[in-house]
């Protein structure tokens, strides 16, 4: 009998403790995120819509048409169209299509990309009225310079080096950004490295923090070379970017 009363009192006590605990929660700020009004604060590693970044400083397209992402994609949702430029003999990106209806946001493409061009953005609002509308083309995929800068800083990605331009062709610059970085496939002749390039390479290890200065260092050389080899001397132009790239690679691993 007394055991029963004791148990009754004890259980009543615990019910009251529970009620009080719940009542205390009234004093807490609601954790609700009112999504359409306030966007969720997503971490940089969030795997949202895929996009192609441009260099946050020079706004040149980072894709080099190496097709690594296309090869690694489990869903085969990436479709790259590129051709070898008859002028420079390098791969030139014509179109880049990602079918987000197929994509499963595994992020493998972003891992294999050698230039950190393809990235997962924080955008997840892709709903549309047709499946075809989910196939994004190059224009839709490419981020602006500001967006790229935002994601590079948010994901803690090293700022890529600007590619030296072989010729002052501003119209073609965006269309064939592959120039410089496609070069490492060929064996770079180290003997062709000019003096200016060496000077740039010297300053390179410390240059990740100040790529602007780096760009300033490399630009004159590129322009000079371009002047030298207008049309015909393609071989001469190639080693020059390759030298720049050759120093960019160890640079990345060090940084």
């Amino acid at each position: 009998m007394f055991g029963l009363v004791g148990r009754a009192v004890e259980s009543l006590y615990y019910v009251c403790v529970g009620l009080w605990t719940v009542a205390k929660h009234t004093g807490r700020a609601p954790i609700t995120k009112e999504f359409p009004d306030t966007m969720p604060d997503l971490p940089g590693a969030f795997r949202g819509r895929l996009a192609l970044a441009v260099n946050p400083e020079t706004s040149e397209h980072l894709c080099i048409s190496c097709r690594q992402c296309e090869r690694v994609c489990p869903d085969k949702c990436i479709d790259i169209t590129a051709h070898k430029s008859p002028e420079t003999g390098k791969l030139e990106l014509i179109d880049f299509k990602i079918d987000h209806g197929l994509c499963m946001f595994c992020g493998l493409c972003t891992e294999v990309c050698p230039t950190t061009c393809i990235i997962n953005t924080n955008d997840f609002e892709m709903s549309d009225y047709s499946r075809e509308a989910l196939i994004y083309d190059l224009k839709k995929l490419t981020l602006t310079q500001d967006e790229s800068a935002h994601y590079f800083s948010k994901k803690y990605l090293p700022i890529p080096k600007p590619k030296p331009k072989p010729a002052p062709k501003p119209a073609a610059a965006a269309a064939k950004p592959a120039d410089g970085v496609a070069a490492p496939a060929k064996p770079a002749p180290p003997a062709a490295k000019p003096a200016e390039g060496a000077a740039a390479a010297k300053s390179a290890p410390a240059a990740t923090d100040k790529p602007a200065g780096d760009a300033a260092a490399t630009k004159p050389t590129a322009e000079k070379k371009a002047d030298d080899s207008k049309d015909s001397e393609k071989e001469k132009a190639a080693p020059e970017p390759s030298a720049a790239e050759g120093k960019a690679e160890p640079d990345k691993t060090e940084g």
Partner: protein, 461 residues
Amino acid sequence: MNPAVFEIGKFARLTVIWLSIIFGAVWAACWAVGVFAPALINASGMPTETASLASEVLRALVPVVAVAVFIPINAMFMVLCERRALALFTVRKGPNRVGPDGLLQTAADAVKLLFKEDITPHGADAVMFTAAPIIFFAPSIIGVLPLLAAASGNHELFRSVNLPTGIFYVLAIASIPVVGIVMGGWASNNKYSLVGALRSAAQAISYEIPLVLSIVAVCLMAGTLDVVKIADQQKDSLLSWNIFGGGALLPYVNLVVAGLQGNNEQVQAIMQHFQAQPLGPFAAVLMVVCCIIFFGIYITGACAEVNRIPFDLPEAESELVSGYNTEYSGIKFAIFFLAEFTNLFVVCSIASIMFLGGGHAPLPGLEQGFTEMLGGILKQLPGSKEIFSPGWLINSLVNPSTVSQAFWIILKTYSLVIFAILIRATLPRFRIDQLMAFGWKRLIPLSLILLIALTYLRELV
């Protein structure tokens, strides 16, 4: 400012706005039917006999109009209030999209439900399927009527619904809805519905006994079944409420007060009274304890009676899809929903009338002071004798005593509703065997023992 305070403020604003809408509408409807229309008829120059007959009929209709206006709006408010309060307890925001700050959410839901397709499942018994929600809903309208008399302070318009056996009638009516549930569950031709309905029947029968025994205890102390009289007996102060023994402690408090005031004659008189009853103080304390436990039993039984968490086994979502109303849709489902919340309101208002002093203020003098103040203001109004002048309109619209009583009973009843929501936010659901064991092996013996104890204690105090 702390966002939590902001949320509580929003909840309070919502409650105040909705309560003003509900009771403003009820008040206006009652006034229009019971006061304004008869006055209009009398002033219209009809033959006297016809006019008086017509106004009598209109006055008799007032309680029905009040309930008919009150129940749908109140159910809308209670659903919204429950969702917002649950959101507060679970650190969320709750519905806040429809209308200003979600105020119209349940109104929109009601409209949606009314326009939905009304489906009768294949193999269902169509007649009983249709009758079930009506049988479930009708008792909550009929049963609430005697409470109106107590809630309005026995206002002359509601005097007709005050029955000498009021609470007995309410309890008798309150046990009808389970028939509707079983009918609905059986007629749905669905095993989940049937199991839910049978559980509901078992639960209602088990928990009705302690519920009724706790009400019987109150009636025993009050010596009447009339809700108006029970409420009036508790009018003095907090200490004369039935939850605190119905005035058992009052003489002792008076003694202490008289002692502090140094009123020796009164102290002597009270002491003489105590010498006749030497066990009095002891019995009084025991009686208060009994009454508080009875109040707990009543709340438990009421939660089970209206199928609320932790006793919501008839509609346990995880076991039975939605219980007895699985197959219902559209307006029939809306009626089930309406009835459920109205039942919750009814049990809470019974609790506040039977245990918490009805429409009377917790402190002595508060009610009277308010009534006199409001009455004084109303008397100042010009032209209160001339018919259809602004003074007459306000004077006939506002009855000071009824305003005060309505305010307190609204406060008490909705506090209990919020407490029921707090219980819902806290406790998990019982298992069916635990439910039965708790009802039959714990609550019923406890309430029987307490009832017998109360019978004797009453004589000793």
